[in-house]
């Protein structure tokens, strides 16, 4: 392992392929800690600099003024999705290296960070939190209900193989491509398309799960002189799943107007109690 000297003309960071591979591995593991020490004022800033610490030490030299200047530079606000964050680390590391060797303006490193974190958080959240997570949940939850070990195993694999794959490759390509890739992707609209596709799959899964898992039936039966009318059967004839659908849409349109989930939670519980007490709903299957 070559140590950094004070003269700038020898490239000391990642001189060969072996150390480059080592860097990708190291970045992959260190970036996993990003969420720790999240603060109100600067979100992930402290841990961003903590992740960068060994790379900055290698680039600028241990305990040098330049190293501390770089660490302080990375105390600025930072917040993005954990899976795609290695991309930012990769880009920033390549720029810090560039800064040491040829002197880029330090300000542009911070500007790039702030311009990347928004779109990347958007794409990471829509792809993983909405797309992949909903598919994984939809596939695994049936096995969970049967008490099968396939449930947790499938869920972890379906969620984390894409999650960790994105993490590994985004760090690598972030460092290799620098900042060109993401600007191109934004210009060509690729980011929007990925968000759109993830939203479509997500919405279909939400619709499917609404039908599968929301249980809202009436046990009300109206007795007339000659026959008993089962109200639920009438609802089923109009549209299967009508009551669950109305309940989901009702919650949704209220939430979209006033984003108060706890209030909806309480309202649903109260509604369940009232309807059961007056005999409209019940535990009977």
């Amino acid at each position: 392992m070559t140590e950094t000297t004070n003269t700038a003309n020898v490239p000391t960071f990642l001189p060969d392929q072996k150390s480059e591979k080592h860097f990708y591995n190291s970045l992959f593991w260190r970036s996993q800690w990003l969420m720790f020490c999240t603060s109100y004022t600067k979100q992930q800033a402290v841990t961003f600099s903590w992740v960068m610490m060994p790379y900055l030490e290698k680039i600028y030299g241990k305990d040098t003024d330049e190293f501390y200047a770089a660490m302080l530079r990375h105390q600025d606000f930072f917040n993005t999705n954990v899976a795609v964050a290695p991309f930012v680390f990769g880009v920033v590391t390549s720029m810090e290296k560039e800064n040491k060797e040829n002197g880029v303006e330090a300000k542009s490193i911070n500007a790039l960070k702030s311009s990347l974190m928004g779109p990347l958080a958007g794409i990471g959240d829509s792809l993983l939190a909405n797309g992949v997570r909903l598919i994984a949940t939809g596939i695994a939850i049936g096995f969970f209900q049967q008490g099968s070990w396939l449930g947790p195993i499938l869920f972890m694999l379906l969620l984390n193989v894409p999650n960790w794959g994105i993490k590994w490759f985004s760090g690598k390509y972030g460092y290799k491509l620098g900042n060109t890739f993401i600007t191109d992707a934004m210009k060509s609209g690729t980011l929007n398309l990925i968000t759109k596709a993830a939203s479509i799959v997500g919405l279909m899964m939400v619709g499917a799960m609404s039908a599968q898992y929301v249980t809202f039936k009436t046990v009300l039966k109206i007795k007339s002189a000659s026959q008993v009318v089962d109200i639920q059967k009438i609802f089923d004839m109009i549209l299967p799943g009508l009551l669950p659908l109305l309940l989901v849409l009702g919650c949704f349109f209220y939430l979209r107007k006033k984003n108060k989930p706890v209030r909806v939670l309480l309202a649903v519980v109260v509604l369940a109690f009232v309807l059961t007490l007056i005999g409209v709903t019940g535990a009977a299957k």
Binding site: W33, M35, F36, C37, Y40, A45, V46, W50, D65, Y68, M71, L72, Q75, N79, V82, P119, A129, T137, I139, I141, G142, F144, Q145, Q146, G147, S148, W149, G151, M156, L159, K167, M186, K187, S188, G189, N192, K196, A197, S199, V201, L203, V206, G207, A208, V214, T215, F216, G241, L245, C251, F252, L255, P261, V264, V269, A272, F273, L275, T276, L277
Partner: protein, 267 residues
């Protein structure tokens, strides 16, 4: 009860660690419940109750570190009470809700402390003390995990017998109401998910997904399969085109992104 309290404390540590470290999703109620079940020696119960808990908390997710309800703790305590006081799944769901709210409160307190540390981190760097910087970082990570351990440990040690008494007191009509509520609550989860996904243009996909299951009895795996194909169909025409077709006047990439984003949420 000491061993069970230690087990639940450890479950809290594992769940909170796997939630943040690598965003592995260990705080999803299904997994949190499975972990708790394993540690309490009843993994199959943990897995089964996990499904009921996941359905209630499915729509709540952490976005940018903000958690509306701590669904991870909801998963842990729901499972713990289902196993320790043999509560029915619908009762376990109801018992988990106060803990999911307590969790956000406790995390808020921690985050205030972490925020106060930001300045100390900076001071260490200004004084060129990288060792102190590293030490403080290790301390805050340790305190974070210790805090969750204590919450799980103390709650189970102090609260279980009270909760057991409470569960035994519940009359049948309340039990039935809780079962009905447990069936209805997933609607809230679904509605919360739709908030981030819905737009007028994409609304039909929700109804397609609903119909595939409600009318044609499709399974979720079948819907996911068709969903992927449908999503590909919907975007295939636009791949490679510069910006989106409806933006007539040239805009910067950021501008286009923003306006798309805006009508995504507004309409």
């Amino acid at each position: 009860m000491l061993m069970q309290a230690l087990a639940v404390g450890l479950a809290c540590v594992l769940v909170k660690f796997g939630a943040w470290w690598g965003a592995m999703g260990w705080d999803r109620p299904m997994i949190a419940s499975t972990i708790t079940g394993i540690l309490l020696g009843k993994p199959v119960e943990g897995i089964t109750v996990g499904a009921a808990l996941e359905l209630v908390y499915m729509g709540t997710q952490s976005m940018g570190g903000v958690i509306p309800q701590d669904y991870g703790l909801g998963g842990i305590f729901g499972c713990a009470f289902a196993i320790l006081v043999s509560a029915k799944p619908s009762v376990a769901v109801a018992l988990s809700i106060p803990f999911s709210m307590l969790g956000t409160l406790i995390y808020d307190l921690f985050k205030f402390w972490a925020t106060s540390l930001v300045i100390r981190f900076q001071t260490h760097l200004e004084n060129h003390q990288i060792k102190a910087f590293k030490r403080l970082w290790n301390i805050q990570a340790f305190v974070y995990l210790l805090m969750w351990f204590l919450l799980g440990f103390v709650s189970i040690l102090a609260g279980t017998s009270a909760i057991k008494a409470l569960v035994n007191m519940i009359p049948t009509v309340i039990m039935n109401s809780l079962t009905v509520a447990a069936g209805m609550l997933p609607a809230l989860g679904m509605a919360l998910l739709m908030i981030s996904l819905w737009s007028k243009k994409l609304a039909p996909y929700f109804f397609i997904g609903f119909g595939l299951v409600a009318f044609f009895k499709g399974t979720l795996i079948e819907v996911a399969f068709l969903g992927a194909a449908v999503a590909f169909l919907a975007v295939i025409g636009q791949i490679g085109k510069h910006t989106n077709g409806n933006n007539a006047q040239p805009k910067t990439a950021e501008g286009a992104e923003e306006s798309e984003e805006e009508d995504f949420y507004n309409d």
